[in-house]
Every structure is written in structure tokens, then in C-alpha cells.
């Protein structure tokens, strides 16, 4: 069983959290913080397994993680899952994200966390691995998106237009213009993979 799936960035900011066991919101945050602490202090060339933290841990559980560019993908699993299998699954997950978002980067995860959840739901269900075949996952996601579009139809058009306008503004207006020393800070988020 997979107990939890967490994605957070290099600074420990959660990008996705999915718990298959009940924890209160406070505990969830604590787990994320603790996991980040454990994972972030590890070197690049050590193994991808980590005997669990205190919160989600227990002797049976372990953390299996991968680090892609700015993001950590962490799965907390118990002993019934194969370690290398889960590593493989993380790879499939990331590749699927890449396909669905077309060259995925951290920003995609930030702004479309619901979509990431939907993709994840096609792979893992209630803590058990549902599908590992990427093509199958992508087919289902596409079909669902199509369904969503057809539902939106005319009624959704104005909303889409509005959001399109809003999105258009995103790259053009810089976040933080400091007139004092005329330096313009625009967030620089590299794509990963």
C-alpha cells in the first residue's frame, strides 16, 4: 500500500499532497515538513530509499523519492510495495505529467494542481497502484478532458475567454518592479526533465 504521495519543491513548499490515511491538516503539514527535512539533506548520489520519518513512519514504512530539477516526488509506502517498482512508478508519473502538460515545469504543478490530482487518480487509487501503462493513462486523461470540454460548451465560453485574458497578462506584467535600482525580478522557474 502507498500511504502518501507528496510533491514539494526545493524549499519545502508543497505542490501536491495526497494522503491515503487520515491525518489532520496540521499533522499533514508536519509530515510534509519532516519529509522535506529528511529528503532535502541527502546527497544527490545516495540511494532513493529512506527509512520512514517519525510521523508517517513505523518500521514497516519507507520513503521512496526522486528529485527532478526543482521538485521532490516522495512516495511513502509499506513493505508490500517493491522499492524499485515504486521508483519506476514515479518515473511513469513524471513522464505522464510531461505528456499531459507538454514539457512540464513547476509552474504547471502550481497552477493546475487539480489536473495533477486527476492524473494521479488514474495511476494510484486509494493507495494501490491502478495503472502503470503510460499510454493507457494518457488515453483516459484525454478522454476525460474531451468530456469536460464538451460539457463546457457554450456556457463555458465566457469563462474561458476571461481566463484567457487573465492568463495573457501573466507573462507580460513583471512581478516585482523595483524602480530604485531599476532591477526587474521575474520568477525564473526552469523546466525539469
Amino acid at each position: 500500500m502507498i500511504k502518501a504521495i507528496l510533491i514539494f519543491n526545493n524549499h519545502g513548499k508543497p505542490r501536491l499532497s495526497k494522503f491515503y490515511q487520515r491525518y489532520s491538516e496540521d499533522t499533514q503539514q508536519q509530515i510534509i515538513r519532516e519529509t522535506f527535512h529528511l529528503v532535502s539533506k541527502r546527497d544527490e548520489n545516495v540511494c532513493n530509499f529512506l527509512e520512514g520519518g517519525l510521523l508517517i513512519g513505523g518500521s514497516d514504512n519507507k520513503l521512496i523519492y526522486r528529485h527532478y530539477a526543482t521538485l521532490y516526488f516522495v512516495f511513502c509506502v509499506d513493505s508490500s510495495e517493491s522499492e524499485l517498482g515504486i521508483l519506476d512508478l514515479i518515473q511513469v508519473f513524471v513522464e505522464t505529467l510531461d505528456k499531459c502538460f507538454e514539457n512540464v515545469c513547476e509552474l504547471d504543478l502550481i497552477f493546475h494542481v487539480d489536473k495533477v490530482h486527476n492524473i494521479l487518480a488514474e495511476m494510484v487509487m486509494g493507495g494501490m497502484v491502478l495503472e502503470t501503462n503510460m499510454n493507457e493513462i494518457v488515453t483516459q486523461i484525454d478522454a476525460q478532458n474531451k468530456l469536460e470540454k464538451s460539457e463546457a460548451g457554450l456556457a463555458g465560453a465566457p469563462a474561458r475567454a476571461v481566463s484567457a485574458v487573465k492568463n495573457m497578462n501573466l507573462p507580460e506584467i513583471p512581478r516585482n518592479i523595483n524602480i530604485g535600482d531599476i532591477s526587474i525580478k521575474v520568477p525564473n522557474l526552469p523546466t525539469f526533465k
Binding site: M1, L16, R22, D43, V46, F49, F111, E131, T132, Q144
Partner: protein, 1144 residues
């Protein structure tokens, strides 16, 4: 309305969507986070706005905001018709719903609707959501729907349905057996996804209870050889790993396909190797020594690999092998020790774990020495703490099995105290105490070491704030005090304990200090008095009196109390000393007796003496109404007593001694008092493994007092020398033996292996086993956790399914009952009953919540009313009771919406209006149900309710069998034996028991006489009671509600082999619908067709008789024409019906 809609969608244009929210948060606009705006959006009628708001809430949830307040809105979004919104709703639900969410029961019907939706994605999204928040109630209600989905045409749905079954099993274990055949079927599903899901579920199930799944082995074997899906393969191999220990023959069969697999996946061979090893574990391995060696060799290659992941997995697999075959792993000790130096902490921890299993008497010292070096080198406290715990674990495992020299161990512990900033001070302290108490021979040495620790306390306690290590001072002080007779320089130690610096230690340690100071003081006093040094004795008393006040001033209550008490005592002693009275004997007697270790489970294992009922009230529990008046009284009364207690200001020593003697006597007679062991020697003989070791006393010339110098190394050297010497001696002996016994056992003797038994311990190792109470109950199930959710799934799956094991199907309530407005009451009741059940569990919690619906509130009130009335029931008379039982009957009928119900209260007829009628303490209601799979059996479920305030036990139900109807008794018991009721009843509790009866003919109603005997237990004692009753087996109770279609019904009537009979009842005032409902309910019929005031009904008996009815309602009368394959049955049925109807 339309205008509102338009307005809503215009509003929506200006609403912020998720992206805006995220953007806002990223720009640190605090007001974005404030959920006021979201709350406003949730109030809108427009579902799109709501969905948008819920979507944002989901994001906020990830950031740690509790969004449970929006649970109801989430359900609204879940029930949206559009997939887009539904998905958002379900996602939010899966993120924040849990078993405590009170609105979750509102979702049942919505989920059921979605599950049967024509759109596969609606179903899919519902399944995904449900998998995250399924509760026992949901599992029970939806199990059948999910079962149906398992054979859906779309593989997409099938695989999700199969997978979610695991969650359903966990929450509702009863569903496992009915669902298992279909699950098994799915293993051979044409779609690989479904197949893998089924394998997944079965593997999860089998992991917890492998023995139930052994019969699936051939199927999995086939799958393993045919499947190409890696996931499935991994899971199957894991499954076999769990199965092989149970079935050794499997291992043999597996070798070939596994080797094939390895060849097939040449590139990933390493990966499969580790699996292979895990799988070959257990019994099978011992059959193939070659395979084992091969495995371990392969693992070695893995561990030496440069890839850290493989290294880790290799070590992991190695630890699995270690459990069964420690020998084959021990040869790789070098490699594992090497891994301790790895830069990766995960790998180091794994290696440590392995070491734990690898130690033996021979290599313990060596391994611990290596570990100690690592402790010194280790940077980072976590790893160092881990090392420390591992060292202690390794040494103390299985009752110090591997320790041959306890002096060495004590010095290791002392060395460990020099670790800075460890959290595990208490662990070291516990070890010190344990060893000192249990190994008698070591006490002298331990005491000297502890004295040294106390002397150097300033090193240890230098910074007490963040330092856990000062805990060892607790142990040190205690050991020095308790075993002060071994102390050489007691004076010095006492002084060390009286230093002002001690007051900076934590309170509980100071308290131990104070207590043990007196022990020390007592023994010094004795020494001095015996030596006749009165001056010295007085000096030491003076020292105590001077230094103790610093503890009297302590802020810690415990320390203060002990210190002031002891100070007074010592002042008193001083007085006596001045008078030159010898006091040492008396003072030392304060601490007489020896403390023995008690097993942690000892208390639990004390058998309950006969006649002692732990559940019984010692005093009558005070009723709520009375307590308010009485409470102040009792307090007052008590206080008075306390004041009037005679005070014994100062007892003379004689009196003290006398009392002590009396107490000792009492203790000696008290089985629960832990006595000092009368014969440690005897116990010593009981300890296996130590007894046959030759005891060698070796004089150790170890400098014992070198503070701050590691000493354990010297022991290692000494130990080596000692062993060498021993070996030489042994060799000599052997040579002698050889000479003597040459020829006979020649070969045997010359075979010299230094096995573990050859190493003699350096000390008279007298490990005192932990004490257990006399005649302790033997039980192996101590460690089982009753709350283990997986235990419930330990179900035999090979037994054929019984018909009673069906998933609950949501049955339509009799359609008629719903149609009429006046009969609407029962369904409403039913609805409100459901939450009631839950309320019982979470009553406290729920009461606090103000969001309750009106309906539910009513139920709570109702319940409270009931409770109140039951409290006063003592005063109530029998009549009222009967009324109540009727009430109960009614409520029960409403409660079960099953059709079988013929409840009747059974009560003792010989009752007077006694204030506390002991014999009327049981209320039994029963209900007879036909048994579908056996045409000659009925099950009678009896609900016993304890109406008294006493405890009922040893209930036994006996029925006088008739020729036709017999109670099914366990084999071997005679007709006159009763059947014990499998539970006891505390006051006010009810429980249900089932009894099976066999019948021959069902055409006649039957009445059986019976008795219920039981023991009533209250504070006055226990009495044997009897209750006579009659069981009425009506003909209707043999009928099983069976739906019938009108065409089949017509055919049945046409067939002509049915007998006919009819009745007419006058004076019926209730409506036709109500009437039909009554017949359905009481007589187990179902309506086939209804036209105006005429209806045809059908039912079937357990022996397969068809019964058809035609019910017609006239002005004030009802006529019923019946047709049945058995005329007697029919006439009896109609008679019963007449009786029912005439009551209306």
C-alpha cells in the same frame, strides 16, 4: 429564476478561479487566503461558482487549512450533473473526508447513483473518491453495487471496482467471502489492467493472512509463467514469498520459473535477484543449500555494486535471509561492517539492522567495539543515537543471551554515558538498573562503577537542559543506594550525593538521590556501629543534617516531601545517638528486603480468584438524580472522619518493630506481594542455556577506578586471553580424553569446532528471570493487538458460501407503504434510526456540534428520555415493563426493515411487585427466520436484555424438543442439555444469540416450551435463576419473502395443482395500503400486482411450497383467497392472518 441564472454567470466572470487564487497567494496578498470570499461563493446557487470555490478550497487544504466546514458544499458539488464539477467535488471529498465527517452518510445515495451512471467516467471518479473516504457504513451499503461493477463491460470500471474491493473488505470484513469468488475470477480477466488489480488486491490480503490463500497458488503459478506485466510479476513473487514458508513444496516448484524470469530480464537481473531471494525464504531454503549459498553470493555482488539503490536492496534482502539462516549471512560480516562506513545513512542503518541479527557470543565484543568506534566518529546526533540504541539492543537481546562478561557490558554502558547530547539517557539508565538487579554477581562491580559516575556527576550533568544523559545518574544513585553493602568508600559516595550541585538536576532524579542517600546512610551507620566508631557515626549524621536542608527547599514537591521527612527521621536518630542508643539495626530495617525484577506482563497474568467478579460494582453506582443531594454530605462526613482520626505523634521503636513484623507476616501470606526470592539457586537452574555452562571464576585484575578512560577494550583483550587459555585447557583435556578413550569415540572427540557453547562466561552469570505470579495464566496471545484491522480479514475462503452470507442489498421498501401519506411514518423512522446507531458511538462528539439537523436532534432527545426512564426502572412495576417491552418490539420492527418479525416478549410469570425483582432481570425478544440453504432449519435469534442492576452470567437456553421441532445441539450432547449463551450480560446491556432448530414438517404452527437458566450476580452474592418461556413457531415464520413476477404468478395459478382456501375478516378500518404492508411485514409476503383495492401476493416456504393470495378489500371487510401446494399450511397461514387482521 432565469434572471438569477444569468446574473450568476455574469458574476462568475468576475470571480477568481484557482489560478487567480494561486497567483494571489504567490504574491503574498493575505486577503486572498481569507476564505470569506470563498464562503460567499459557496452560498451561490450557481453550481459552477460553487465548484470553483471548492476547487480553491482543495488547494488551500494542501497548504494546511482545515476545510471540513465546507463538507456539505462539497457534497453539493459532488452531486452536480456535469462531470467537470463532479470531479472537483469528489477530489475535494477524497482530500478532506474521513470517518469522523458527519455528513458522509448523506453521500450514500449520490455515490450509488454515480456508480450506476451510464458515463464510465462518472463511475470512475466516484470509485476513486470512494476509495479515499470509504467508511464501514458506506462499505456495507455499497458493497453489492461495487460487486456488480466488477463485471462491468468496460475494463476501466472493472479494474477500479476490483481495486476498491480491498478497501471495502477492510471496512466491512463480512463482504470478503461473498465477493471472493468473483475476485478470483478476475485473476483471469482478459484485460491486463483488471488482472493486475486483482493480483494487487489478493496480494494485499494474503500478506496479512497468507494461509487462507494457499489454494490460489496454482493459479498464481500459471499467471507467473504467462504474465508479461512487470507489476504483476513483482506482486506475484511477493505473494509467493509469503506463501512459501507455509508450503515448503512451493519453493521447489518456483526455482525453475524464477530462473527463467531472471534470464528473460537479463538487463534487470539484479532487481529480480533480490526478489528471488525474498521469495525463496523460509522452509524451502533449507531444502536447497546450494540455492541459498547462491543467493547470498549474488547478494554480495549486489551490495558491492556501485549503485546505491542496489546496495540498499541487497542489504534489505540479506536481512530477510538472516531471519531464517543467520549462519549463511554471518560469513559476510566484513562486508556489512564495511557498509557502516558508507556515506549514505539509509545504508548505514540497514547494515546496523543486519548486525543486530549477526551477533553471537563469539563476536559480540568485537562488533560492539567496532560500533563504539563509529559512535565516536559519527557526526549528527540522529545517527549516533541510532547507534547507541542499536548497541543496547544488540547486547540486551533475548535476555542478554550473548553477553559472557557483564563487567564488560557495564563498562560499555559507562562509556556510553560520555556521549554528549544523546536523547537516550533513560535507555542506558534502564539497562544499568536491569543488569544490576538481575545479575547478582555483577553488583559489586556495578556499584563501584556507579559510585564513580556519581563522583563525576559534574561531567555528565554539565548542561542539564538539553542533555538527556543525566538520566543515568538516576540509575547510578539507585544502584549505589540499594546495593550499598557492596560499596567500599560509602562515605565518599554519600558526600558526592550531597553536593550542592545535585540540586540542579531534574526533580525526579533528585528524589531518587534523597531516598538513596538514606539507604547509604543506613549502611554506613551500621558499619560504624559495628566497628564501634561512635564518633564517626555521629559525624555522618551531622553531615546529613547539615546538607539535607538544601533538598527541603527544593521546588519539586516530591524531593521536598522526601527530604523533609527524612530530615526529621535523622534528627530523631541524632537524638538517640546522643543517648548512645544503638540505632543502626532499626534504620537498616527500613530498607530490608530485596527487590526482584517483575515481568512486565506479570500483573496481567495474575489469575482472577474464584468468586471474584471484577466487573461487578463494589458499591451501588450512584444514580444521577441522587448524587447531587448526597455529594456534599459525603464530603462532609469524610472530613469529619479524617479529623477524628487519632494521631500517633511519635511511635517508639518497639511499636515500629512490632508493626514491621506484622506487616512482614501479612506480606508473606499475601500472594500478590512480590516476595524476595527464597532460592535464587533454584531459579538459576531453571534458566536454560546457562545451566550447562561450566562456571569459571576468574580473578580480574582490572583497575576499576579510572574515570574518563575507556575500559571496555581491556575486557576484549582479557576475554581473548581467557578464551585462549580455556581453549588450551580444553585441548589438554581432550588430549587426555583421547588417550583414555582412544579407539571408541576417536573421531567424535577429535572433531573440534569452537561452537558457542564452548565459550564459558567469565562470571557466575545468574540472570534472574523476571518474576511471574504463581499459577499465572499461560497465554500466547498477549501480543496480539485487538484493534488490528487486518485480523478481521482472517477468514477461511475455501469454505463454500452459505446463503446467509450475502451482501446487503438495498431492498425497496414495500412500494405500497410509500404511496400512502398516512403510512409514511415508518420510513422516516427508519431514516432517523440510522444516524441513531452512529450517535451511540459518537454521542459525545456529535452533541458538541451545533450543526445538527432538527430530525436528528429529536432522536437524541428520544434516546435520552429512554435512558432516564430506564434509570427509574427499579421502581417500576411489571406492567410498565411489559409495556416497555412492547415498545421495544415496535421499535425493533421499525428498525430492521427485514420482513421476518414475530417478536414476543418472554417474561417470568411468577412475579410479585418486589422492589428489586431479581428474577425479572432478563427481557428476551426473539425472531424466527427461515434458513434458505437448508429446507428444514430455522434460526431463532434471541435478544437478551439485562433489565436489572446485577450481572448475568452462565446463561443457558434449553428447549423441550417436540417430535417435529428440535433444537440443534452440538454433537455429543444429549436432548436434555441446554445450549450456553455465548456471552455474559452486564446491567442494562442487550446482546443477541442465535439458535438453530430443525424441523420436519412446516405445515403446522408449533409452540415449544423452554427454560433459560442463568446466574444473577450482585453485591450480595450470586443466585441461580430460571425463566420459563414459550417459543411460538408460527407458520409465517417458515415463509421467505420471495418476489414473483406477474406472468410467473399467472402460470403458477394456471398450473392447477394448488389447493384453495379463503377467509373473510370484518371490521377493518385501516387503509388498503396499510393492510398490505401489514401482511407483507408480518407474514412475509410480497405484492405481485395491485389493482385498485385488490392485490395478488406471493410467498414461498423454506420447503418450497408456493403460497399465493388474492386480497380484496370491501367496505369494511377484507377477503383473502389463498392457494397453496399444501392445504394444511394454507389453512394455518390464513388463520394466523385472520388473527393479525382482526387486531387492526
Amino acid at each position: 429564476m432565469a434572471l438569477k441564472m444569468v446574473k450568476g454567470s455574469i458574476d462568475r466572470m468576475f470571480d477568481k478561479n484557482l489560478q487567480d487564487l494561486v497567483r494571489g497567494i504567490r504574491n503574498h496578498k493575505e486577503d486572498e487566503v481569507s476564505d470569506r470570499r470563498i464562503k460567499q461563493e459557496l452560498k451561490q446557487d450557481n453550481i459552477a461558482v460553487k465548484a470553483n470555490a471548492v476547487c480553491k478550497l482543495t488547494y488551500l487544504q494542501m497548504l494546511g487549512y482545515d476545510i471540513s466546514w465546507a463538507a456539505f458544499n462539497i457534497i453539493e458539488v459532488m452531486s452536480a450533473s456535469k462531470f467537470t464539477f463532479k470531479r472537483i467535488g469528489y477530489l475535494a471529498a477524497s482530500q478532506c473526508f474521513h470517518e469522523g465527517t458527519d455528513v458522509i452518510m448523506l453521500t450514500t445515495n449520490q455515490i450509488r447513483k454515480d456508480l450506476s451512471s451510464p458515463n464510465q467516467y462518472d463511475t470512475g471518479v466516484a470509485l476513486t473518491g470512494l476509495s479515499c473516504f470509504v467508511t464501514p457504513d458506506l462499505a456495507r451499503d455499497l458493497a453489492n453495487d461495487i460487486m456488480t461493477l466488477m463485471s462491468h463491460t468496460k475494463p476501466y470500471i472493472r479494474k477500479k471496482a476490483v481495486l476498491i474491493m480491498y478497501k471495502v473488505f477492510l471496512k466491512y470484513p463480512e463482504s470478503l467471502r461473498p465477493a471472493f469468488p468473483r475476485l478470483k475470477e478476475k485473476l483471469e480477466d482478459p484485460d491486463p489492467g483488471v488482472q493486475s488489480a486483482a493480483v494487487n488486491v489478493i496480494c494485499e490480503l494474503a500478506r496479512r493472512n497468507p494461509k487462507n490463500y494457499l489454494s490460489l497458488a496454482p493459479l498464481f503459478f500459471k499467471l507467473m509463467t504467462s504474465s508479461t506485466n512487470n507489476w504483476v510479476l513483482i506482486k506475484i513473487i511477493k505473494l509467493f514469498g509469503a506463501l512459501t514458508p507455509l508450503e515448503p513444496r512451493l519453493g521447489k516448484k518456483l526455482i525453475e520459473p524464477l530462473t527463467n524470469l531472471i534470464h528473460r530480464y537479463g538487463g534487470r537481473c539484479c532487481f529480480f535477484h533480490s526478489r528471488l531471494v525474498k521469495c525463496l525464504l523460509g522452509g524451502s531454503l533449507s531444502l536447497f543449500p546450494d540455492a541459498r549459498c547462491l543467493c547470498v553470493q549474488k547478494l554480495r555482488i549486489l551490495i558491492e555494486d556501485s549503485d546505491q539503490n542496489l546496495k540498499y536492496l541487497g542489504l534489505l534482502a540479506m536481512s530477510k535471509i538472516l531471519k531464517t539462516h543467520p549462519k549463511s549471512v554471518q560469513s559476510h560480516k566484513d562486508l556489512i561492517l564495511q557498509c557502516l562506513d558508507d556515506k549514505d545513512e539509509s545504508i548505514r542503518l540497514r547494515a546496523l539492522d543486519l548486525l543486530y541479527g549477526m551477533v553471537s557470543k563469539k563476536n559480540l565484543m568485537e562488533i560492539v567495539k567496532k560500533l563504539m568506534i563509529h559512535v565516536d566518529k559519527a557526526e549528527g546526533t540522529t545517527y549516533r543515537d541510532e547507534l547507541l540504541t542499536k548497541i543496547i539492543d544488540i547486547c540486551s537481546q533475548s535476555n542478554y543471551q550473548y553477553i559472557t562478561n557483564f563487567e564488560w557490558y557495564i563498562s560499555i554502558l559507562v562509556e556510553l554515558t560520555r556521549l554528549e547530547g544523546t536523547r537516550h539517557g533513560h535507555l542506558i539508565a534502564a539497562q544499568m538498573l536491569d543488569v544490576a538487579i538481575r545479575v547478582k554477581a555483577i553488583r559489586k562491580f556495578a556499584v563501584s562503577q556507579m559510585a564513580m559516575l556519581l563522583d563525576n556527576a559534574h561531567l555528565i550533568a554539565s548542561n542539564t537542559q538539553r542533555n538527556g544523559i543525566c538520566e543515568v545518574l538516576y540509575a547510578a544513585a539507585w544502584i549505589c543506594g540499594e546495593f550499598s553493602e557492596h560499596l567500599e568508600e560509602a562515605n565518599q559516595t554519600l558526600e558526592a550525593m550531597l553536593r550542592p550541585k545535585v540540586t540542579t538536576l531534574p526533580g525526579h532524579i533528585q528524589a531518587v538521590y534523597v531516598q538513596n542517600m538514606v539507604k547509604l546512610y543506613a549502611s554506613i551507620l551500621q558499619q560504624k556501629e559495628q566497628a564501634g566508631e561512635k564518633e564517626a557515626a555521629q559525624e555522618i549524621t551531622q553531615l546529613m543534617i547539615e546538607r539535607l536542608p538544601q533538598f527541603v527547599q527544593s521546588a519539586d514537591l516530591e524531593v521536598q516531601e522526601r527530604a523533609s521527612c527524612i530530615l526529621q527521621l535523622i534528627k530523631y536518630i541524632q537524638k538517640l545517638q546522643v543517648k548512645e542508643v544503638p540505632v543502626a539495626e532499626e534504620v537498616i530495617a527500613l530498607f530490608a528486603g530485596e527487590l526482584n525484577p517483575v515481568a512486565p506482563k506479570a500483573q496481567k497474568k495474575v489469575p482472577v480468584p474464584e468468586g471474584l467478579d471484577l466487573d461487578a460494582w463494589i458499591n451501588e453506582p450512584p444514580s444521577d438524580s441522587e448524587s447531587e443531594d448526597e455529594k456534599p454530605k459525603t464530603i462532609f462526613h469524610d472530613e469529619e472522619q479524617r479529623h477524628s482520626k487519632p494521631r500517633h505523634p511519635e511511635m517508639d521503636e518497639e511499636e515500629l518493630a512490632r508493626r514491621r513484623e506484622a506487616r512482614k507476616q501479612e506480606q508473606a501470606n499475601n500472594p500478590f506481594y512480590i516476595k524476595s526470592s527464597p532460592s535464587p539457586q533454584k531459579r538459576y537452574q531453571d534458566t536454560p542455556g546457562v545451566e550447562h555452562i561450566p562456571v569459571v571464576q576468574i580473578d580480574l585484575s582490572v583497575p576499576l577506578k579510572v574515570p574518563g578512560m575507556p575500559m571496555s577494550d581491556q575486557y576484549v583483550k582479557l576475554e581473548e586471553e581467557r578464551r585462549h587459555k580455556q581453549k588450551l585447557e580444553k585441548d589438554k583435556k581432550k588430549k587426555k580424553q583421547k588417550k583414555e578413550k582412544r579407539g571408541k569415540h576417536h573421531r567424535h572427540n577429535s572433531l573440534h569446532t569452537e561452537s558457542e557453547e564452548d565459550i564459558a562466561p567469565a562470571h557466575h552469570v545468574d540472570i534472574i528471570t523476571e518474576e511471574m505470579p504463581e499459577n499465572a495464566l499461560p497465554s500466547d496471545e498477549d501480543d496480539k493487538d485487538p484493534n488490528d484491522p487486518y485480523k478481521a480479514l482472517d477468514i477461511d475462503l475455501d469454505k463454500p458460501l452459505a446463503d446467509s452470507e450475502k451482501l446487503p442489498v438495498q431492498r425497496h421498501r414495500n412500494a405500497e407503504a410509500l404511496k400512502t401519506p398516512d403510512s409514511e411514518a415508518p420510513p422516516v423512522e427508519k431514516k432517523s434510526k440510522k444516524p441513531k446507531k452512529k450517535e451511540k458511538k459518537h454521542k459525545e462528539k456529535e452533541k458538541d456540534k451545533g450543526k445538527k439537523k432538527e430530525k436528528e436532534k429529536k432522536v437524541v432527545e428520544e434516546e435520552e428520555e429512554k435512558k432516564k426512564s430506564s434509570k427509574h426502572k427499579k421502581k417500576k412495576h411489571k406492567k410498565e415493563k411489559e409495556e416497555k417491552s412492547k415498545d421495544k418490539k415496535k421499535s425493533k420492527k421499525k428498525h430492521h426493515h427485514s420482513e421476518e418479525e414475530m417478536a414476543e416478549s418472554v417474561q417470568n410469570g411468577t412475579l410479585d411487585d418486589e422492589p428489586l425483582p431479581v428474577s425479572s432481570c432478563v427481557l428476551a425478544t426473539y425472531d424466527i427466520q427461515g434458513n434458505l440453504q437448508n429446507d428444514s432449519q430455522v434460526t431463532v435469534s434471541v435478544i437478551f436484555e439485562n433489565k436489572s442492576t446485577s450481572f448475568l452470567k452462565s446463561m443457558e437456553l434449553n428447549v423441550l424438543d417436540s417430535l417435529n421441532t428440535k433444537m440443534l445441539r452440538p454433537e455429543g450432547s444429549s436432548v436434555h442439555d441446554g445450549i450456553p449463551v455465548p456471552f455474559q450480560l452486564p446491567p442494562g446491556i442487550s446482546n443477541e444469540a442465535q439458535f438453530v432448530f430443525t424441523l420436519q414438517s412446516i405445515v403446522m404452527a408449533q409452540k415449544l416450551k423452554g427454560t433459560l437458566s442463568f446466574i444473577v450476580k450482585n453485591d450480595e452474592g450470586s443466585t441461580h435463576e430460571k425463566l420459563d418461556f414459550k417459543l411460538h413457531f408460527s407458520c409465517a415464520s417458515y415463509l421467505i419473502t420471495t418476489p414473483c413476477y406477474s406472468d410467473a404468478f399467472a402460470k403458477l395459478l394456471e398450473s392447477g395443482d394448488l389447493h384453495m382456501s379463503s377467509i373473510k375478516v370484518d371490521g377493518i378500518s385501516i387503509s388498503f395500503q396499510h393492510l398490505l404492508a401489514k401482511i407483507c411485514f408480518h407474514h412475509h409476503f410480497s405484492v405481485v400486482e395491485r389493482v385498485d383495492s385488490c392485490a395478488s401476493m406471493y410467498s414461498r416456504s423454506i420447503q418450497g411450497h408456493h403460497v399465493c393470495l388474492l386480497v380484496k378489500k370491501g367496505e369494511n371487510s377484507v377477503s383473502i383467497d389463498g392457494k397453496c401446494s399444501d392445504p394444511t399450511l394454507l389453512s394455518n397461514l390464513l388463520d394466523e392472518m385472520k388473527e393479525t387482521l382482526s387486531k387492526c
